[in-house]
C-alpha cells in the first residue's frame, strides 16, 4: 500500500527491512480490522467524526513506529483505541483556549484518562450506530457506501476512490460533503427506533451488500477479489444479525454472503483466471460457511417472509447443496428466480433466470429469453449470450458476443476468463454442446 499512513515505518529503528515488511503488512491487517471499532468508539466519546478519524489515523502511525520494535500488543484494538483517545484528549486540550472545548477537554481529561477500554459488546453497538449513521437516507447512496467503507471498513480515501473508479479528489470531496452534512444537519448517531427500523434497514443491507460485491467482483485494480472487503461485509452482516436476530432479510443477506464466500477460493485459479461454477473444485468449498448459510436459509424458510436477499441466498443454498453441476436442482433455482421476478421484475433478474432455464430446457430456450432483454451495456448479458451461442455451435456470433463482453468487463479475472473462452472458439476447441 502506498499512502499517507506508511512513511512512519521508514524510521531508522525499524530496520532491518525484510522483517519490517512482514510486520507492516500484519499491522495494516490489524488496522483494517480494528479501524471501524476505534472510530466508532471515538465518535461516541468525542461526538466528532473528523476528530475520531484523524486520531485513529495517528494511532495507526504510532503503531507502525512501535509495534515492529515492541511487538503487537495482546489487545491491538484496545491499544489503538486508548492511544487514539489520548491523542484526541491532547488535541482538545491544545485547542482549549476556546471555552466550550476547554470544558469538553477538562471533562474528558479529568475523568477518562485511565478508564479501561469498553468491552466488545458495547463496541459492536457503537459500530452499529455508526453503520446506521453512514447509511442514513438523507445521504446519497454513493456517499453511504463510501462512508461505510472509510469509517467502518478502514479503507483509505484512495482505496475507496479506486473501488468506485472515481478520481481520488472526487471521492475525498464526496466523503467530506457527507461528513459535513452529518454534522451540520445533526444526523443522529444511533440505531433507529423500532418503527423506523424496517425502512432504514433496507439502506443498511443494500450498503453492506454493495461492499461485499465490491470485494467479490472488484471493478478495478489488479485484484480479482478483495478478500478484505468481503470479510468486512460479512463481519458487518454478523453484527447486524446479532442485533436484529428476528429480521429474515438480515439473516438472508448474511446467508447470501457466507454461501457466496464459501466458494471464493475455488472461483479464481492460481493463474488468476475466473473458474466458472461448473468447473470449480467443490471439495475446496468451505464447509463451515456452507453449513452456516444453510442453517440461516432454513431459519428463513421457517419464518416464511421471503425477500430478495433470502431468495438469492436460497439459490446459493441449492448450488452449495449439490456435489456437481449436473446434480444441481435447476428447477428449484428457476422457481426461486420466478419468485424473485415477481417481487422485482428487472432485466437482470430475468437474465439470471434465463441461465437457470438453460440448464433445464437447453441453450436455445435460454437464448430466446436472453435475446429479448434490454441489457446491451451490461457485460454479463453478453457473456451469457456468448456462452449460449457457443453451446449452440454458432461460433461467429459467440465470438462477437465475447468481444462485446470483454470490452465492457472491468474485473481482470473475468476478462481473462472471457478471453480464454473466446480464443478457444478461434482454435476450434469448442464443439457445439
Amino acid at each position: 500500500m502506498t499512502d499517507a499512513r506508511t512513511p512512519a515505518a521508514g524510521s531508522p529503528d525499524n530496520a532491518p527491512g525484510a522483517g519490517l515488511a512482514a510486520d507492516q503488512a500484519a499491522i495494516e491487517t490489524v488496522f483494517r480490522e480494528e479501524f471501524g471499532r476505534v472510530v466508532a468508539t471515538l465518535i461516541k466519546r468525542f461526538g466528532d467524526i473528523d476528530l475520531a478519524e484523524e486520531m485513529a489515523q495517528e494511532a495507526f502511525v504510532e503503531a507502525l513506529q512501535r509495534w515492529p520494535r515492541d511487538g503487537v500488543p495482546p489487545n491491538p484494538g484496545g491499544w489503538l483505541t486508548t492511544t487514539a483517545r489520548n491523542r484526541g484528549i491532547d488535541r482538545l486540550r491544545r485547542e482549549s483556549h476556546r471555552e466550550a472545548k476547554h470544558e469538553a477537554a477538562h471533562h474528558l481529561y479529568g475523568e477518562e484518562q485511565d478508564m479501561p477500554v469498553a468491552p466488545v459488546t458495547s463496541v459492536n453497538d457503537e459500530r452499529l450506530r455508526l453503520l446506521f449513521t453512514c447509511c442514513h437516507p438523507a445521504l446519497a447512496t454513493d456517499a453511504q457506501v463510501a462512508l461505510t467503507l472509510r469509517l467502518l471498513g478502514g479503507l483509505t480515501v484512495p482505496e475507496v476512490a479506486d473501488a468506485f473508479l472515481v478520481p481520488e479528489r472526487t471521492m475525498a470531496q464526496r466523503i467530506t460533503r457527507a461528513k459535513r452534512k452529518i454534522k451540520a444537519a445533526n444526523i443522529p448517531y444511533r440505531v433507529p427506533r423500532d418503527a423506523d427500523l424496517p425502512d432504514r434497514l433496507k439502506g443498511v443491507l443494500a450498503t453492506i451488500y454493495l461492499v461485499f460485491n465490491e470485494g467479490y467482483l472488484p471493478q478495478s485494480g489488479e485484484h480479482a477479489i478483495r478478500t478484505d472487503l468481503c470479510h468486512e461485509a460479512i463481519r458487518l452482516g454478523r453484527v447486524l444479525r446479532d442485533l436484529m436476530p428476528d429480521e429474515p432479510e438480515v439473516a438472508g443477506l448474511l446467508a447470501l454472503m457466507v454461501l457466496t464466500e464459501s466458494r471464493r477460493t475455488a472461483r479464481v485459479a492460481d493463474d488468476g483466471l475466473l473458474v466458472p461454477l461448473d468447473e470449480q473444485d467443490r471439495t475446496t468449498w468451505d464447509r463451515t460457511l456452507i453449513d452456516e448459510g444453510h442453517d440461516l436459509v432454513r431459519w428463513c424458510l421457517q419464518r416464511n417472509r421471503p425477500g430478495p436477499y433470502q431468495l438469492l441466498a436460497a439459490v446459493n443454498a441449492v448450488h452449495t447443496d449439490a456435489d456437481s453441476v449436473e446434480e444441481t436442482d435447476w428447477r428449484q433455482i428457476v422457481a426461486l428466480y420466478d419468485q424473485m421476478y415477481a417481487v422485482s421484475p428487472t432485466p437482470v433478474v430475468a437474465l439470471n433466470r434465463a441461465v437457470a432455464v438453460g440448464e433445464v430446457d437447453g441453450p436455445a430456450a435460454s437464448l430466446a429469453i436472453v435475446d429479448g432483454l434490454a441489457l446491451d451495456s451490461y457485460h454479463p448479458f453478453h457473456a451469457t449470450r456468448a456462452d449460449l451461442l457457443r453451446r449452440l455451435g454458432r461460433t461467429d456470433d459467440a465470438r462477437a458476443a465475447y468481444d462485446r463482453a470483454i470490452e465492457l468487463a472491468a474485473n481482470p479475472a473475468e476478462i481473462a476468463f472471457l478471453t480464454r473462452r473466446r480464443d478457444a472458439l478461434t482454435a476450434g476447441e469448442n464443439p457445439a454442446g
Binding site: 476556546r98 466550550a100 442514513h136 451540520a184 444537519a185 445533526n186 444526523i187 443522529p188 423506523d196
Partner: protein, 126 residues
C-alpha cells in the same frame, strides 16, 4: 437542539387549489402550527405571497440594482416556511413529513448554521 428551516416547495404550473381546498390546507397547517408551538419548538414561520410579488436588490456592485421578480428563473420556488427546533435530523424529517402532508407540497429541510460552531471553525473570536 438544531434549528431547521422547512421550506415549502411550490412548482410553477401547479394547479390552483379551490377555495374549499385552501380552507382545508389552512386548517391542517394551523393544527401543525399549534402542535409545534405547544411542543415549544416553533421559532418562526409563515406563508409567502406568489413569486411575482418579489423584488431583488443587488448591492454587490458599485450601484445598488433593484429589479422586479425573483432572483432565479427556477421552476420551483419557496411558498412558505417554518423555522423550528428539533433534537436531530430524524426528528426534523418527521416534522417535515407532517408539514408536507398539511400543506400539500414537498418540504425541503435545511439546518441553520450554529453560530458558535461557525465562528470557531473560521477562527473568529466571539
Amino acid at each position: 437542539m438544531t434549528q431547521y428551516m422547512l421550506s415549502v416547495m411550490g412548482r410553477e404550473g401547479d394547479p390552483q387549489p379551490s377555495d374549499a381546498e385552501v380552507q382545508q390546507i389552512y386548517q391542517r397547517v394551523d393544527a401543525f402550527n399549534q402542535k409545534i408551538t405547544a411542543a415549544g419548538i416553533w421559532v418562526f414561520g409563515g406563508g409567502l405571497h406568489e413569486v411575482s410579488t418579489s423584488t431583488v436588490v443587488d448591492g454587490t456592485g458599485t450601484d445598488v440594482v433593484t429589479t422586479d421578480g425573483p432572483f432565479s428563473e427556477a421552476k420551483e420556488f419557496i411558498g412558505g416556511f417554518w423555522v423550528l427546533e428539533a433534537p436531530d435530523l430524524d426528528a426534523a424529517l418527521k416534522l417535515a413529513a407532517e408539514a408536507s402532508q398539511a400543506c400539500g407540497d414537498p418540504v425541503e429541510v435545511r439546518p441553520f448554521i450554529d453560530e458558535a460552531q461557525f465562528l470557531a471553525e473560521h477562527g473568529i473570536d466571539a
